[in-house]
């Protein structure tokens, strides 16, 4: 079975794939790799690898404070990466871009800041925290910890049967006691693209802060933090063609000024004596210790790569591919999509179950054919509980994914069904 009709808006994947060495890999002896695990991590183009190598071979030094050439070059490259990220997300100021180690740290950072903050931000036993049932564990556990430690109450939006947020009781969930509402822009398990405006409007009404987990959005669509009107936005480098070990927290400047630091150490201070210390202005206040320098520089190169292709084009490509994949998958007997069954308001991650064949078995038999998907709860176990399933199989696409890979997946699933049939 191969693709029968033309898809519109696809990128020139033949050219793009040349930039990604790993996509040429053969697995299990002679199978061509079909990499459909992009929601877990994306592959890394040569341009990013070359930038990182060049950093180490020519400019490597610790940043800030150095008066020698290498230190100045390294600092310029590191801070240059901040400029790139700032413009990629349309941040009003570069100083609002904080480099962390991953999205999880970004989310924990905010949760911790709010625990130690003064009024009006302070989360304590009189206050409430709101999340949703479709969050990644990295946007659940930090708030559970904060709730346990402060006595605050953790509340959440439930899900509708078709994998969307149930906002019907929004006024009861977000109340005058709510200090922070944190939710995912695009779900990594359901693929759902959530409505921001309604939530932000209600949060602003009650004076709550809004944090958006854009880990699955930043890689795949134009992201404009000003348009979102959130207070904090988190995402992670390794899902957007960048290296591991780098994440981003964007936060509104006034908040970054007002809120207390999280980790203490070198780089984040203004002046230190044994008795007390004062802190540097943001972003440095939140970047304790030697930052992930090469990783930030690599992320800058990834942002350049994405920008050259154009995030609108990336989005259009994935949308066409996702529509095609949804359509084809729905034709597979016994396949049940977990999440929205149309390509509207969804990202390029598609979860499903296949009869009562356990996802581990689905994944393993696909792997034997060279097809890499992820199986399990995808760090979003409450979603599995909600839909009464132990796990799902998830295929997720990116700018180098092709209709032929969708076909390979569908054929692979046929094989799985026969194998366990």
């Amino acid at each position: 079975m191969t693709q029968t009709r033309e898809l519109h808006g696809l990128l020139d994947t033949e050219a793009i794939r040349k930039d990604f060495p790993v996509l040429d890999r053969l697995v299990h002896d002679d199978r061509r790799l079909v990499y459909l695990d992009n929601a877990a991590t994306s592959q890394t183009p040569r341009q990013v690898l070359d930038t990182i190598t060049e950093y180490y071979e020519r400019h490597n030094a610790n940043v800030h404070r150095g008066v020698h050439v290498l230190a100045e070059e390294a600092t310029a490259l590191y801070e240059g990466a901040r400029d790139k990220v700032a413009s990629f997300i349309n941040a009003p100021s570069r100083d609002e871009v904080i480099f962390t180690k991953n999205a999880s740290e970004s989310l924990n950072l905010v949760a911790n800041m709010l625990g130690w903050a003064d009024e009006p931000y302070r989360v304590d036993s009189d206050t409430e925290i709101v999340i949703t049932e479709m969050e990644h564990h990295s946007n659940i556990v930090p708030w559970q910890l904060l709730a346990q430690r402060t006595g605050a109450k953790l509340k959440w939006f439930g899900l509708t049967d078709d994998g969307r947020l149930d906002l019907s009781d929004i006024d009861k969930v977000i109340t005058e006691k709510t200090k922070i509402v944190s939710f995912v822009l695009v779900s990594n398990i359901l693929g759902t693209h959530n409505p921001v405006e309604e939530i932000v409007r209600r949060a602003q009404e009650v004076g709550a802060l809004v944090m958006i987990d854009a880990s699955q959005a930043a890689p795949h669509m134009p992201l404009d933090v000003q348009a979102l009107q959130a207070d904090f936005v988190a995402f992670t480098g390794h899902k957007m063609l960048g290296p591991t070990g780098i994440g981003v927290l964007w936060g509104r400047q006034e908040l970054l000024e007002d809120l207390p630091p999280f980790l203490g150490g070198g780089e984040m201070i203004e002046t230190v004596s044994m008795n007390s210390s004062t802190y540097a202005p943001a972003p440095h206040k939140f970047e304790a210790g030697t930052p992930p320098i090469a990783e930030a520089v690599g992320l800058g190169a990834a942002v350049d790569y994405l920008t050259a292709i154009g995030m609108d084009n990336v989005f259009a490509h994935e949308r066409a591919l996702t529509a095609y994949a949804v359509e084809r998958l729905l034709q597979v007997p016994d396949l049940r999509l977990i999440g929205p069954t149309t390509a509207e308001e969804r990202g390029a991650a598609i979860s499903f179950t296949l009869g009562d064949i356990h996802p581990h078995d689905v994944g393993q038999v696909l792997d034997e054919q060279g097809i890499a998907v992820r199986v399990g709860h995808h760090c979003a176990r409450p979603v599995c509980l909600r839909y009464g399933i132990p796990a799902t199989t998830r295929a997720s696409f990116y700018l180098y994914s092709t209709p032929a890979e969708v076909d390979a997946l569908v054929d692979g699933l046929e094989h799985v069904r026969n194998f366990f049939g």
Binding site: H358, P359, H360, D361, G376, H377, C384, P390, A391
Partner: protein
């Protein structure tokens, strides 16, 4: 890794279902959601029954079926030896090629040798075995308590 033996046990599990027992345990593999509820019944040191219900992948389900085959009717000491050998095989990272002696002990369970190459799946294969060990400790601890009481 999907030997026919494994697929057979998966499709036609032996001894499945919950029957009377001296102890019951519920084990979960949190990374994939595999679950098993398992009961053991002892007659003295002899395993009179191992009954179970569960959901999960072919490996975890087949492994429970093989366990039932291998352990029911055995004396505890023999069963522990079988369990130890199976554990050794599963932790071998594909390095152990089962020899005749091992095949004698493990019978159908040698089919799991291939699974040991897949770290993510080893836990699936061991789920029922860990549950059995736990249930046995409870059952015998229980009767030990009864005896000393």
């Amino acid at each position: 890794m999907y030997q026919d033996v494994i697929l057979d046990h998966y499709k036609h599990p032996h001894g499945r279902g919950l029957r009377d027992g001296d102890a019951e345990v519920h084990h979960v593999n949190p990374t994939c959601g595999d679950e098993i509820t398992l009961r053991v019944r002892y007659e003295g040191s002899r395993i009179a029954d191992v009954s179970y219900e569960g959901q999960g992948c072919s490996i975890s389900q087949a492994s429970a079926s093989v366990l039932n085959d291998l352990l029911v009717g055995k004396d505890l000491a023999d069963a522990q030896k079988i369990q130890g050998t199976f554990l050794e095989l599963m932790q071998s990272k594909g390095q152990v090629e089962p020899d005749d002696a091992m095949e004698e002990v493990l019978e159908d369970a040698v089919a799991f040798a291939g699974v040991s190459k897949y770290p993510a799946r080893v836990k699936c294969a061991l789920l029922s075995w860990m549950a059995w060990k736990d249930a046995t400790a409870q059952a015998l601890g229980e009767s030990a308590r009864k005896e000393t009481a």
